[in-house]
């Protein structure tokens, strides 16, 4: 297997230009973020922040400053409301499992949208093993949650509602404030969680204005290091922690805080928020160029998700008909363009992206989808290169397809 990977990588030798657009699944950490992290591995604050010595106190100070900054960026009331977790996956697990266990006895119903990311969807479904029920709210063809159906679903038994602020695949910006108002009007005790991993740093986000009880943040989704995330929990809300271990600096996460990664996440946040307007305008401009260019160059496409200001500025998702997504990702990789696909081809389940299916895409349209996310680090040259490479790749793959599967 490893030999195969070596050979695969060899095929990529000689690539002159590389454009990483798979920011849904990982990211390139900017050098200034790496530089900010480095001293914390071995120069300073390398101690355990709970312990009574200099390196420990140094770590404690650094982590407290990070809490302060992150809480400021999302408009939290105080730093106690933030918990650092080892990624958004753990934050979503903690938010859902923890609040359900803490609310046990008050009700047993969890309400989520049908296009939640897998680490919300599967956790909510898993809770059925513990006697909770899960109801999924449908979305329309642009991915907006049906608020009428949400209103119908929330009842006195409902303990938790979870709807992402921005959908991770099709970029739909949900009307979270409206959704929270609807939920609280029907049941003031129901908690509202939002996975804000795809909103943080890309759209304005203020947890107090939104009146959410819980929120999830991700580090790598704003070009911070992988393996770091955070959970916001409004003061006064009951929560059970899902991991047990030593008593640490955080109530909800037992373990030794990873100070360098916390610093990296904080630095990435600073960079995203320092010039928030300029950053998001740049993303939007590059994204629009990319999408317009693809539609100019190719026929038989579907644009997935909403257009305009209801879409996250970084997200582009296009279905390329008569082409299979996995084949396309490989073909593009050989030219130095890295994207992901909603195709099911890597799974025997033969199930493509649940998000694309939920917004009414045919399976064949979902199999031919490619997901691209731009960052402020991308350049006009990057987009021009993608627009040069993509049509060639699509035409070659379509050439293999020929008339197969065309009605």
């Amino acid at each position: 297997m490893v030999e195969n990977v070596k050979a695969l990588l060899k095929l990529h030798e000689g690539i002159k230009h590389e454009v990483y657009l798979d920011n849904e699944n990982s990211c390139i950490v900017p050098q200034e973020v790496v530089d900010a992290m480095l001293p914390y591995f071995n120069k300073t604050a390398y101690g355990n922040p709970t312990l009574t010595h200099k390196p420990g106190w140094e770590a404690f100070e650094v982590i407290m400053n990070s809490f302060k900054k992150i809480s400021k960026y999302i408009g939290a009331k105080n730093l106690e409301e933030i918990t650092f977790t080892p990624s958004e996956t753990e934050a979503n697990n903690q938010a859902i499992m923890g609040s359900c266990f803490a609310q046990k006895g008050k009700g047993k119903k969890i309400v989520i949208s049908e296009i939640e990311p897998i680490n919300v969807l599967q956790v909510a479904e898993m809770m059925q093993k513990y006697g909770f029920t899960t109801q999924k709210i449908p979305v329309n063809n642009e991915g907006f949650v049906n608020l009428e159906k949400l209103k119908e679903a929330v009842d006195s038994e409902t303990i938790l509602v979870s709807i992402s602020s921005v959908n991770n695949e099709v970029g739909t910006i949900q009307p979270i404030k409206e959704a929270v108002d609807i939920v609280k009007a029907k049941n003031p005790h129901a908690l509202f969680h939002t996975d804000a991993s795809d909103a943080y740093g890309r759209i304005p986000l203020n947890v107090q204005n939104l009146n959410v009880d819980l929120a999830t943040l991700s580090s790598y989704k704003i070009q911070g290091p992988r393996g770091m995330g955070a959970m916001y929990l409004k003061s006064g809300i009951n929560m059970e922690r899902i991991l047990e271990g030593q008593i640490g600096t955080q109530k909800l996460w037992p373990g030794v805080e990873n100070t360098p990664l916390i610093v990296g996440f904080t630095k990435a946040s600073e960079l995203a928020f320092e010039n928030f307007e300029a950053n998001t305008t740049k993303m939007r401009t590059l994204r629009d160029k990319l999408v317009d260019g693809i539609f100019n160059e190719l026929d038989d496409l579907r644009f997935n998700g909403p257009k305009g200001d209801k879409r996250s500025p970084d997200n582009a998702n296009v279905s390329i008909l008569r082409a299979e997504g996995e084949a396309l990702t490989i073909e593009l990789s050989l030219s130095g363009v890295y994207v992901s696909s909603g195709s099911a081809c890597s799974r025997r389940l033969l199930q493509p992206s649940h998000v694309l299916v939920a917004i009414g895409r045919h399976y064949s349209e979902a199999h031919g989808s490619i997901l691209m996310k731009v960052t402020r680090a991308h350049t006009e040259e990057d987009i021009a290169y993608v627009l040069k490479v993509l049509p060639t790749a699509v035409n070659r793959i379509r050439g293999i397809v020929g008339s197969t599967g065309v009605d």
Binding site: M1, V2, N4, V5, A7, L8, L11, N25, N140, N141, E142, R302, F303, R322, E324, G325, E326, A327, T329, I330, L334, S340, S341, G342, S343, A344, C345, S346, R347, R348, L350, P352, S353, V357, A358, G360, H362, Y363, S364, H367, G399, I400, V401, G402, S403, T404, G405
Partner: protein, 170 residues
């Protein structure tokens, strides 16, 4: 979500990049398809068969992943100049996987589908000429044919679950 790491071997990559026997065959004796775009993979096989039941030419088109393309291509190579009987008996999905130097587990079905399409083409050759099937051709579907049918059935079920067209907007 093509997120599972798929370390394809060099032979698969070579056939993916430079597929052999690719494209529609205008003078094909028999054309057979297997799979469905709804499942993400579909293969068309074109065979040119001589009066003596020898496969003179084989070509393919494929809607699918790199493994699908490569396995289809290698099957067309393997059956060239074979008698239909030999092709029927010798070409199994296991042999295809072997010939291609191994497939990631989740991709075995690509080899199965390619062989399913071939077996269909051979069966079809006799039905379309309206001659009695030779004794070596079993009435029962082979494993590969059953798998292809199962996938196509699944595609139908999947299509039913889709939202009505009216709700859609491009």
């Amino acid at each position: 979500m093509s997120r599972m790491p798929l370390p394809y071997n060099p032979k698969i990559m070579d056939l993916f990049r430079n597929p052999k026997n690719l494209g529609k065959m205008e003078d094909a004796t028999v054309v057979a398809v297997a799979g469905n775009p709804a499942c993400g993979d579909m293969i068309t096989f074109y065979l040119k068969i001589s009066d003596k039941d020898i496969i003179e030419k084989a070509q393919f088109e494929s809607y699918g992943c790199a493994a699908n393309i490569a396995t289809s291509s290698i099957v067309t190579e393997m059956i060239k100049c074979m008698s239909l009987e030999a092709a029927w008996n010798d070409i199994t999905w296991k042999r295809v996987v072997e010939e291609i130097g191994g497939l990631p587990d989740v991709k075995f079905h690509c080899g199965v589908l390619a062989v399913g399409a071939l077996k269909r083409a051979i069966r079809q050759y006799f039905t379309q000429r309206n001659v009695e099937a030779p004794s070596w051709l079993p009435k029962e579907h082979t494993f590969e044919e059953k798998q292809a049918l199962e996938e196509e059935e699944l595609a139908k079920t999947l299509s039913k679950r889709l939202k009505p067209e009216a709700e859609k907007k491009s």
